[in-house]
Subunit: 404 residues, 4 copies
């Protein structure tokens, strides 16, 4: 690959922190090798339409200097377009024509699991591709740019909401992204010291959640001299119930065809908690004991759900993702020049560039529930009967790997 003259950069899927560092890492490492890099705008939409564009942006020193690596999102843009969803059977031909038109000989693509098959497909079509893992959900095998930033923001928002919770003695439910996994809910929830963290990896038994609320929240309010307390639940959007039901919206009734409507995870959790509170005579006694009870007006504690939604992936990128992004972008260029198309960057540490074949990289990674048990031993509820933390001790020999 020593002869490559121009590479294209694509960011695909959803936005996340650190992508601008990836782009800058690629561009700067590329021109250290005398290679030009260009932006293919707006993800796969731009890749598909490339042939019809009149020009592409070359990332020279001046242009790169206008990108801020600590700003979330991507200068290259994203779109929700998946190559597999494009009906056009000649889509790969069209893509190849576009690349040819602008003399783009290879691609570096930063994206999540959908990106994987594209990397493989394009490779098959003779377009060398390197994959830089990006997903704020952290559902790929390697660390993916954007994860730490999402975790920090989830933690910050969940923590902030405690002032509202404490003032109103509310159960606060924060619903966050994560698709089929709970990494960011887990780490972000711990970062905010949530009382309860609900993740897709552990089907939720709401009776257990409710009992935990009662014992933790009620004790908190009762022992407070000003009768104040809150309880924080961080819930990942993809949770399942212990009984295997869908998350039906209990307030919505049925539609014209008799179908129940689905609720978002936050709303569903709220309904489950409220339902149990209304039915439980203990709650009224508690309300009376702490002086909150007013008949007909205030009979059970309030429960509120909040979805910070895109706020957790926007704004500022944290230092780890900027560092990782730069390293990963530079490593992608190195891998490309080494002829290692079809691989995914894992990380750089010291002088070692770690990588895996892309099909391995994009296999779904779930939260290790062994570690969840550690936090259960510390009192956090995960919607199941707490498991024992079955640990083993490992003495580390030689240089200790660490994240920074």
């Amino acid at each position: 690959m020593a002869s490559v003259k121009r590479i294209g950069i694509i960011t695909s899927g959803g936005d996340a922190g650190g992508l601008n560092a990836v782009i800058k890492g690629v561009a700067k490492e590329a021109y250290a090798h005398g290679i030009e890099s260009v932006i293919i705008p707006n993800g796969y939409a731009g890749l598909y339409n490339l042939v019809d564009m009149s020009e592409v942006v070359v990332l020279n020193e001046e242009r790169v200097g206008r990108i801020d690596a600590s700003l979330a999102g991507s200068e290259a843009g994203h779109s929700r377009v998946k190559i597999s969803k494009i009906a056009d059977v000649n889509r790969y031909e069209k893509i190849k024509e576009g690349l040819k038109k602008f003399g783009i000989e290879a691609l570096i693509i930063s994206g999540g699991d959908d990106t994987g098959s594209v990397v493989v497909d394009l490779g098959t079509q003779g377009i060398p591709c390197i994959h830089v893992p990006k997903t704020m959900d952290l559902d790929l095998q390697p660390y993916s740019v954007g994860g730490d930033s999402a975790i920090n923001r989830i933690a910050e928002f969940a923590r902030d909401l405690k002032t509202t919770g404490m003032s109103h003695n509310r159960i606060m439910i924060i619903e966050v992204f994560g698709r089929y996994v709970g990494h960011t809910a887990f780490r972000g929830g711990v970062g905010a010291e949530a009382d309860c963290i609900l993740i897709p990896e552990i089907p939720v038994d709401f009776d257990i959640v409710y009992e935990h609320i009662k014992s933790v929240y009620c004790a908190r309010v009762e022992r407070s001299d000003v009768k104040a307390g809150t309880y924080t639940i961080v819930v990942a959007e993809g949770i399942k119930t212990a009984g295997g039901e869908m998350l039906y919206d209990e307030s919505a009734g049925v539609d014209a065809f008799g179908h129940k409507k689905l609720a978002g995870a936050g709303k569903y959790v709220r309904q489950q908690v409220e339902k149990r509170m209304k039915a439980d005579p203990y709650v009224k006694d508690f309300m009376k004991k702490v002086g909150m009870y007013v008949p007909g007006v205030y009979e059970i504690p309030e429960v509120r759900e909040i979805s910070p939604s895109h706020l957790v992936r926007s704004g500022q990128t944290f230092a780890y993702d900027v560092n990782f992004g730069y390293r990963a972008g530079a490593a992608a260029v190195a891998l490309l020049l080494e002829g290692k198309s079809g691989n995914t960057v894992v990380d750089v540490s010291g002088k070692e560039i770690f990588y895996v074949p892309t099909p391995e990289a994009i296999k779904r990674r779930e939260v290790d529930t062994s570690e969840v048990a550690l936090f259960e031993s510390l009192g956090t509820c995960f919607g199941r009967k707490p498991a024992k933390f079955e640990h083993v001790f490992v003495e580390v020999k030689g240089l200790i790997k660490r994240y920074c």
Copy 2:
């Protein structure tokens, strides 16, 4: 009132920044005068149930020291209980018994418009009351603690979301609180340089909004070398349409009785924008021109609505509200000692303590649309045909009043 020995502090309504400064201002000024202050917990719920409590918290130096004035919410707690909603006809008797039980001779109540009538009623019942204005909506006549903090947070969130908007070329809609007025949407929107700000004071003509989007957003994407652009709408929850319709959810169909369902303001705005985009052939041309168009997959720009919800009132309190809260709390004690029950603190400046009768204070204050016209002249859309900024010039003589 020189003989008062113990005063009670109540915070009512919703939480907001700066209330802890009010509480500390009251407590510290009180003990400077040898008066004890106590917390009546959880708003009017606690006031109503006071007689049944076994003790109240006295705000001595140690206890006050454990309150952080820069943390949002209230150490005294809130509840959504309104005195007027309590069915008990003897409610004022019960309240008076509670106050008597603990030797509380006067009250300082920080709250919004609902608080006003209570202040008057309790005064009629012989309980001296001073009102400190609190509402993150800023719908009272005087400045109210919590407003600046809410504005700063709205601005921050709306600004943060631009990274997501820019990455995906999305129209971003941020729905915020405000009830019947648009103060915080207006100031927060300007603080984030929103392209469009929709407030209850100006009925929204969505055709005008849509034309503004087209001219501003499309031009932005087109002139960007990487074909990136976004458009930010900050919308207050209480908006009305120019045609006077309710905000019906167009995706929801009708219920069993044929009734349409209402949508939140953010969702409604999204539907109005999407509907026009789908129907407008210009949009498809635009999508093609900038290389975003993929048939069947990506035919119009994405529109997303986000509700930061309680996040805008939680977390950190900004410096202005801490300063104002302290001043207002101290002033409330001074007014009480002067025998000015039934009044609302306006502010302290230099040695002057400003106040108004509470019934005056709680009259709804709306956004001055003259000033809106200034921002229309600068290019911001407010959902109407821009008005001319009809200004007058005023030379200031003497000491200039300023906010800090």
Copy 3:
């Protein structure tokens, strides 16, 4: 002035939050009137060298769109160059030539007190000028863009440092800008609930400061179950001592000529506190009582001074300054078109544009010490024997002026 075709924008003096909003306000209001605005870069350095430049930047829609109003500092740049310091006797001629070269018929200058004389001088030379007040020190008569942002950041930093103070039981001293006045130290200090705030308006009696430390700090540590406490001092750089001495560095000895060296305000305060602690046997007893005393190693509490320095004027601009900046920039254009050269914008409220003659605007404004007395009654030390808060009550009639 209706015929003006092109105006120049200058930002002079030091950087501050909100200037970019001023620039955008000017530019957008200008093109609403069909007037072009251009940036004269780098303050008076650029104005002086304008005639030698090959081009200036016109603030059209695209260029304005690349300025972020919520980013501190100025897109137009600053320099420490004062016109009065330029030795060239033909400096005004040279400036006029530069303006003529680029067809700039009028100027809008945002700056502090030095700016004032320039505005007057240029007016005398036939160049219409409007002044927009800018100073993070708030030492002009009107509110000046940058003040609120500086206050918020001072408050944030002083508050953050409490975690270090609490962990080490330290007296923490935060030195901030302010030149001859204490506005931002005062408001920022209150915003962080500093225990002691030292400002130039009140000559500092360090014996009083020291006694306050002893009574507040020692009590705090003693009553803490984990023997933890801190004490926060916010000090403005321009403080004077009660005795009228210079702030000599007591650790520095004298130079070759026998001259003492001056210390910064923070260092000076530290030395005064440490000196008294070392000499006071009470302190050793206190250290023993709370279990901190270790002979020869830890005999008095630690005192640390920190200078956040430029951090308080950099980074993010808060919402008030963005709002004010936009209003002020637009108002400057309106004043210019009205022929009101030589005036300073005060603010816009509703449809009223307030202004004062620039020579009035730039008179130094000090902190109103009547209001300081209010905070003394609440327990804050200002380095003097607390004054009585001699307040008067004023009932407000008509529309209440408020800051937002």
Copy 4:
């Protein structure tokens, strides 16, 4: 160790983020095992004086609930007291008496390298000890609580200062902690995209730094349409010069004994840069070319140094440190119960608890300069002639270790 009934928690050395999570992790894991944990206040000062205290704080559920894990610093307090510095020859006897008095059978100590010898010594004296690594400098072998938070804050401050730098076209120097190593300067500097990062591991050649400034900074200002540019240097306090000189303050002259005074790293760097600028005729030409030059007033660009100092270790703790702190605290209890006194927690991942003998853990860890070369290839200056990034490729097999 299964019989231990009460353990003591000590935090020693300087404050850092995440320690409160460590304390809570210890306390919660302890009471999961029916063990009481108590705080020994103020580090080794408190340990030494323990025998004279009347009581210690037991960390029951209520008391633990009042600790906020996301607040930096330590609820247990710190002191700069080192056991080795205490003159008392019976110090260990006294410590043992104190522990005995309160029934404390084992210790968990979170601290840096000084802590190590104490852990070993106390073990020798029959007091079981586990060490949790804490140092914001990251100079121990394992990751240490506080590192990520310090890096994030350094990055944030360095980034914020760019607005000041850009406005005044200044060279900005940010001096940060780090003692003998440059981990946080490195990672924080990259996080802020500093142009130059100076660390103790790489002796600084200031001629190289100066040439880098000239080529990067001058080009930036020249190509800016508004003639704006800045250059950011992050410098660790412990840097050395390539020539092996001490960091002498060139502005300070000599003292009465002819000794030169030392400068802090930031000041020293500033002097080196300014000296070269003044002597270099190119700089005057540059100043003229960009319109900044004013004779006698403004002849070279300004250089400013800022020391955020304790601000980088105070305030908020980021999510990674809260997560790590909780895991590490819990693991410390597990190691203690397993009888592994004299060891240091490395981390927990899944069900594996990693540890090393404390003497291994506290060996100084320096920045891997191989990885520095990666960033040199991307254009960052490290004060030396850029080294080639000599990388090796490693395909990862099996489960990928990742930081979260």
